[in-house]
């Protein structure tokens, strides 16, 4: 997908490119934007209190993912995969195999990974346009 097609929403490609998958992708982008903002802002606050750097960094990952999802760019998946892998590494560094402790660290991020992965067909189609 090019900037040109992105900015030409209203034209003839709209019907094929902006089906239900596209709008679900945009919805996911909105959700990740909201969570990304909250986690980034809270993460900065936590750093200012002397706490973990993870959340601010993960917040950036979420915001970038949201940005690329808005652009319907495959970079969204790559960026989030990196964020998720970083999360995985951090989570095991913090608590190892304590699965109850992993619940807040890995469950939601893994759901997000699956959701972002599910947008790949939409992103591919958009890139091919």
């Amino acid at each position: 997908m090019t900037t040109a097609t992105y900015s030409s929403h209203a034209h003839e490609h709209e019907r094929s490119a902006h089906g239900i998958g596209y709008w679900l992708t945009m919805a996911l982008a909105v959700v990740l934007l909201a969570f990304g903002l909250a986690i980034f802002a809270g993460g900065v606050w936590l750093i200012s209190l002397g706490g973990s750097y993870y959340y601010a960094i993960a917040g950036v990952g979420l915001l970038l993912t949201a940005y690329f999802l808005f652009r319907a760019s495959m970079a969204a998946f790559s960026v989030y995969l990196v964020t998720w892998l970083g999360t995985l590494a951090w989570a095991f560094w913090e608590v190892g195999f304590d699965w109850w402790a992993q619940l807040p660290r890995l469950l939601a991020p893994t759901i997000v990974l699956l959701l972002v992965a599910a947008t790949i067909p939409v992103l591919k189609r958009a890139e091919n346009d």
Binding site: L49, G51, Y55, W99, P104
Partner: protein
């Protein structure tokens, strides 16, 4: 007490197999080995015979005691002679005391139900007391009852103190006596943990009230009824009742209430009362009183701040107000003539600047009182200058403690901080070193804080200090919020003092460690069983001006109508502490303001087996499944052992089993005492926040647990006594 709301969502994602939480090992406090705490274990007891104190032979109800009764010089009226031990009843076929036998070990020698056949247990009967909360009392019920069993009858009190006897094999009601307790007498909870059984050694076998059932009520009366008929004992007080309000001051219903069974030692009924926490410094006295078990006459009073006053105060006077009280169950030693009183804190809990020296001397201490005189023999303080509501809540357990020099008569003293102390019950001296650790400084009254605090070198149930990574949640977002709360609070570990500028973290919280459920001892195998909580509280002092703006008023200034309509809340969640410069706000269990889930990761409770002789951990498992917990109060229905908050004690039997409910999953379970493995469980019809008991009739062993629920544990309220046995033809 504390709370829960655990949580889990795991459903869809197969986030890997959720393994059992690794057994946490006993964490030893890592301070320098310090000399014994100087303020602990002071002894003023004259020497007493040091021979063994094995379970005295059982005396059937009605049998004459070995002791001579001619004396009685000290005793008013026809009261009993307190100079000699009276007969005790053995635990076995019967369960004659709240804690089982006279030693309150919560242990039964019965073994018909054992590790081999426990899986076959089925319900023998379910009895319902009929005592369910009225509209007005909704959200304030927490029955917590454990019945007694003597002969062929069970004896119990319902949540609002209805005395009941049922046939122990069928649940058919023999009699009931309703003392008509009003809903406005409910303090924190409508609880009646149990009753006491007493045999009048002076009465003829057929005399009325030869055997009697005695309880303390929420509206602060002692009630005595005939165990055979349920008729009030005419010889006891005013037609079977004695008012405990005498000498306490203005009668404010709900402020002064009895929720635990009294101890009866040498014919003296010993009771304290719950003084509702957090109301005002000028609160009802914590006076301990002894009453003649036959006549109901006041035998003595012990007012710790006015030791000269041993009778009733003069007209218009009261026992010293605001002093540390005893709300839990005492236990006695007939032979030594001592009664062991686990005292709570002064009124109020979270500010101490106005406390007297006497309060500071006795608060949160175990006190051994001589029942013949009402004078203290020794005491052992578990917290100096308690600012954390670390009341001693567990009934003491008497043991013949194995040492190099033979068996020593000892008591096991559990505490809310998680420390278990083993004390020589004759002298109060600890059999293991009592360490003195440096306490955190700061808070609103740094000049008053104790620089050191005691901990036990024998064993502690307390886990290591919290760190930011122990914060929990359902998602990274709420976990992040909890991390922010953690970093914003004052927290310098165990005993962080109360603060007003910022919240502070109290860990363990006021639910323990060990609370009223206490511990159990298997004397045969030398194993101590303790279930415990592992939950912090997130607290903050509120300056008086702000508290006034919030409209926080003590119970005596609130309109009576308000008291009825104010919904029950967690203890301390906005308590006025009138008279102190600060009110208090407690977030019990430190629940996230976003989701209602705890801010710290599970487990929130566990059960541990400890080698009695050495204090070493044998096994340690989380207690309770996640069934009923989840974010936003939604039950997850996950049958995964997460370790929930729990309230209620364990029962250990010679069948190699520990029976325990207590957790928030409404299950009663049997655990193999050797391995910690759950070998049987059953779903109760309501919350099992009570200690189970067992007994035998006609060669058949029964297991009984009350399912009364608990408002604060957020379990369903009920009025059930659920009784199990093995199928009859299978034995």
């Amino acid at each position: 007490m504390a709370s829960r709301h655990l949580a889990t969502l795991t459903l869809a994602l197969g986030l890997g197999c959720v393994s059992a939480v690794p057994a946490a090992l006993a964490q030893q406090t890592s301070s320098d080995p310090a000399p014994a705490d100087p303020a602990a274990g002071q002894s003023t007891l004259p020497p007493v015979p040091a021979d063994g104190d094995g379970e005295r032979p059982a005396v059937a109800p009605g049998a004459a005691p070995g002791a001579a009764n001619e004396g009685g010089a000290e005793t008013a009226g026809i009261g009993t002679d307190r100079s000699q031990p009276q007969a005790t009843q053995a635990v076995g076929d019967d369960w004659p005391y709240y804690g089982g036998g006279p030693k309150a070990q919560r242990y039964s020698p019965l073994d018909q139900i054992n590790t081999g056949n426990v899986g076959n247990l089925e319900r023998a009967f379910v009895y319902r007391t009929g005592d369910m909360p009225s509209e007005r009392a909704k959200g304030k019920y927490a029955w917590e009852g454990t019945p007694l069993k003597v002969g062929r009858s069970l004896y119990m009190c319902s949540a609002e103190n209805i005395l009941i006897s049922v046939d122990a094999t069928t649940g058919k009601e023999n009699w009931r006596y309703d003392p008509k307790v009003s809903d406005d007498a409910i303090p924190y909870s409508a609880s009646c943990r149990g009753v006491a059984y007493y045999v009048n050694p002076q009465a003829g076998d057929d005399a009325a009230c030869k055997t009697r059932i005695i309880e303390g009520t929420l509206d602060a009366r002692l009630i005595a009824v005939d165990a055979k008929t349920g008729e009030p004992c005419e010889d006891f007080g005013d037609n079977g009742a004695v008012s405990l309000w005498d000498g306490i001051g203005n009668k404010v219903p709900g402020w002064y209430a009895v929720t635990a069974p009294p101890a009866i030692v040498r014919g003296v009924i010993v009771t304290g009362a719950q003084v509702k926490d957090g109301e005002a410094e000028d609160a009802p006295s914590g006076v301990i009183r002894g009453y003649d078990a036959v006549t109901g006459k006041l035998a003595w009073a012990w007012d710790l701040a006015n030791p000269e006053l041993t009778g009733e105060p003069a007209d218009g006077q009261t026992y010293t107000r605001g002093t540390p009280n005893m709300w839990t169950a005492p236990v006695g030693d007939e032979k030594l003539g001592l009664v062991y009183l686990p005292l709570g804190n002064s009124s109020v809990d979270y500010y101490g600047g106005n406390r007297s020296d006497a309060e500071n001397e006795w608060a949160t201490s175990l006190v051994a009182l001589d029942v013949t005189t009402g004078k203290p023999a020794w005491h052992f303080q578990t917290v100096h200058y308690d600012l954390w509501d670390y009341d001693l809540g567990s009934q003491l357990t008497l043991v013949d403690f194995p040492t190099d020099k033979g068996k020593v008569p000892a008591v096991i003293l559990p505490s809310k901080q998680g420390d278990l102390y083993i004390l020589d019950r004759r002298t109060g001296e600890s059999l293991f070193p009592v360490k003195s650790v440096d306490a955190p400084k700061g808070g609103v009254e740094p000049e008053n804080l104790s620089p050191t605090q005691p901990t036990s070198a024998y064993h502690t149930l307390r886990k290591k200090r919290l760190t930011e990574k122990d914060m929990w949640g359902a998602t990274p977002l709420d976990q992040l919020w909890c991390r922010i709360e953690f970093r914003r609070a004052n927290y310098d570990g165990f005993f962080t003092p109360p603060s007003a500028d910022k919240p502070w973290i109290q860990y363990p919280g006021y639910n323990g460690g060990s609370d009223w459920g206490s511990v159990s001892v298997d004397p045969k195998n030398g194993i101590l069983i303790a279930n415990y909580n592992d939950i912090p509280n997130y607290n903050r002092l509120i300056a008086r001006k702000k508290a006034d703006e919030m409209g926080l008023k003590p119970i005596n200034e609130r309109a009576k109508e308000d008291n009825g309509s104010i919904p029950a809340k967690a203890e301390g969640a906005g308590d006025p502490q009138a008279g102190a410069p600060y009110a208090i706000d407690v977030n019990a269990g430190w629940r996230s303001s976003l989701t209602g889930m705890p801010c710290t990761e599970p487990p929130y409770g566990g059960i541990r087996a400890i080698d009695l002789a050495t204090g070493e951990t044998l096994w340690d498992e989380p207690l309770g499944e996640a069934l009923r917990n989840g974010p936003f109060g939604i039950a997850s229905r996950l049958p995964l052992t997460i370790g929930t908050p729990n309230n209620g004690g364990p029962l250990t039997t010679a069948g190699g089993l520990v029976f325990v409910a207590a957790a928030t999953d409404d299950l009663i379970r049997a655990i193999d005492v050797k391995t910690g493995e759950v070998v049987w469980q059953d779903q109760l019809p309501a919350g099992g926040q009570a200690t189970p008991m067992t007994y035998e009739v006609d060669g058949r062993q029964y297991l009984a647990i009350s399912a009364g629920g608990h408002h604060f544990m957020e379990t369903p309220v009920g009025d059930y006594l659920v009784v199990y046995a093995l199928p009859q033809n299978a034995n």
